[in-house]
Amino acid sequence: MTLSQKRMVILILVIIVAAVLGRLAVRAFMNFMLGGTLFGGNFL
C-alpha cells in the first residue's frame, strides 16, 4: 500500500468515526433530555 493509499484509508476511517459520533452525540443529548438512556437501545 502506498503512502497516499494509507492516507485515504485513514481519512475514510476518520469520516466514518466522525459521522457515527455526530449522530451518537445528538442521540445522547436527546436521551438525556427526553428521559431515555444512551445505551438502552440501538447504538445508532
Binding site: 449522530r23 427526553l34 431515555g36 438502552g40 437501545g41 440501538n42
Partner: protein
Amino acid sequence: MKNEGKGRKKVMWGFIYVGAFILVFAASAIIKMTYNPLSGEMQVHWNDTVGHVYSDMAYDDKEQNKFDLYVPADNTKKNYGLVVYLHAGGFSTGDKSDDANMLKWLTSKGYVAAGINYTLRNENNPEASVYTMSQEIKKSIPVVKAEAEKLGYNLDRMAISGGSAGGTLALLYAYRDADTSPIPVKMVFEMVGPPSFYPEDWVTYGLDQNPEAAANLFSVMSGNTITTDMIGTASYDEAIKDISPFMWIDNNSVPTLAAYGKYDKVAPFGTVKHLINALEKNNVPHDYIEFPHSGHGLQNDNKLYLKYIEKLNEYLERYMGRE
C-alpha cells in the same frame, strides 16, 4: 530539505484529518437533529380550504379554561366526529397550541378537533391537582359540543387523546367519565400518560424507597390526603382511584391505542403494566405499542412511531367512521 517537505506534508494531513472530523461530526449531528422521518406523516398544508380555527373559547371562569376549536372547511355534513387532544407538560406546563399540528391533521381528515387547556399546578394555582384538571376536562366537553353546534357542526361521536399528562387525562375521561359524556366516546388514543400511581412503580423518582415522598407527591396529584401508613392498603387505592385510569377499566371501556417507551423515566415504565393487564383482563379492544429503545420522548423507534400512526388511522376509521 526533503525531511522538511515530509514534515510539512504530515502537518497538512494532520489538519485534513482534524478538519474532516470536525466537518463530518457537525454535519452528521445537524442531519440527525433536523431530519424527521415522521414529518411527512402528519403534515398538513393548512389554509381555508382545509379548515378554520376558533381560538381561546372559554368553557369556564378560570384563566386556563380555554379551548381551540378546529373545524373542517366542509360544513355540509349532518354529523361530525370530535377528536379532543390534551396537551403534555407534567400537569404543570404546556399549552393547547403545542398540539396545533396534530389538531390540524385531525381536522384535515374531516373531524372537528379540540385542544383543551386545563388549570396547571404552579405557584399561582397551588390547589390544582390531576383530579381538578380531569374535572375541568369533563366540564369542557358540553361547552365544546355547544360551541361546535353554534358553528353548524353537530357532534355525534368522539375520541379523546393526549400525550404524557394529557394522556392520563384522556384515559381518565375515557374510562371514568365516558358514561356521562354528552357525546358518545368511541375510542381513546394516547402516548406515555402515567396510568397508575403505586409508589413501587415510581422507582425513577425513588418513591419505592421513600414512602413519605410518595405520600406527599400522590397527595398533591390526587388532591387527597395520603399518609405513609395508607400505602398498600385499600384506603390508598380509594385515595388514588380518581386519578388512576386503569382502575376504571371494565368490560364496557372504549377501545384503546397506547404507546410507551421502555426507558421512560418521566412516566415510569413500571406503571404501564396495570393499564395493559386491566385492558386484557376486561377484554377491551386495544393495541399497545412498546418502544423498546425509547424514553418519554419515544425518540429512538421511528418505525414503531410510524406503526402507531398507522394504527391510529385504522382506529379512527374503525371506531369514528370515515369522514
